[in-house]
């Protein structure tokens, strides 16, 4: 019977960890996407300095979430997004808005796919 209680406890702990991870990833992704939306608006208004500052803050925030993300998600996916944010910082200095907005859209899709892939949907399970 002791083993039974250990087994049930293990299931509860694992359930709590996975649910917490799902909530954390989903909420972090939403915040990052929101930040990118705001940065896109700044770029569209040609306010490059503000956009650059916001990108630096986003990069720092992403580095903070990076550790947790790397513990639960594929490292290559996280590295791709980090790389894109670094590229966005450089693109924000150029006058080519289309290039910036294209990469920003791609980064947002990658972020979205992180949270989508964690949802317990039939397509993900299968």
């Amino acid at each position: 019977m002791k083993r039974l209680w250990i087994a049930i406890l293990l299931l509860i702990i694992v359930g709590a960890i996975t649910v917490s991870e799902y909530i954390y990833v989903t909420s972090s992704v939403q915040k990052h996407i929101y930040a990118l939306d705001e940065i896109d608006k700044k770029i569209s208004q040609n306010d490059r300095e503000d956009a650059y500052d916001m990108l630096c803050r986003l990069e720092n925030r992403f580095e903070d979430t990076d550790r947790v993300f790397n513990a639960f998600l594929l490292h290559s996916d996280i590295d791709n997004i980090s790389g894109n944010i670094a590229m966005l910082k450089e693109y924000s200095k150029s006058t080519n808005n289309a290039q910036f907005l294209a990469l920003s859209a791609k980064t947002k899709l990658q972020l979205l796919s992180l949270s989508k892939s964690e949802k317990p949907l039939i397509d993900n399970i299968l």
């Binding site: 083993r3 087994a7 299931l11 639960f72 490292h75």
Partner: protein
Amino acid sequence: MLIILIRTVLLYAFVTLAVRIMGKRQISDMTTSEFVITLIVSDIAAIPMQNTAQPMISGLVPILVLVAIEVIVSVIMMKSKKFHKLICGNPIVVISNGKVDEKALSELRITYEDLDSLLRQQEVFDTKDVKYGIMETNGSLSILKKEEQKE
């Protein structure tokens, strides 16, 4: 490589703990589900050992869940004969009063040669010496020799 080394040590400790939680059994005494889970656990543990791009928790979570499910299933099997039968099946009599039940053998997909081999491992060289031969759910053969053969 250092990460692989550390992960290997951690996962080894973790799998040992997992097997310890599942309980002590020899491989020959394991039920089908226990045997399958033991194999799966070792395969799952190998993935994050070799692939550092994959988070270690992607190996730990399935192992924990499998071990927990296995323990719960084994407790339920202890309490419920029906459930035990559903998971493990029933032992099948393959030899009765020296005669081999061919239907039982074909049901188990065992040849005469396989049966003879199992009998020889029990120091029986003729099926006529066997009163009852029962194929257990773990694939082993239990035999009851005829009275005159027991001496």
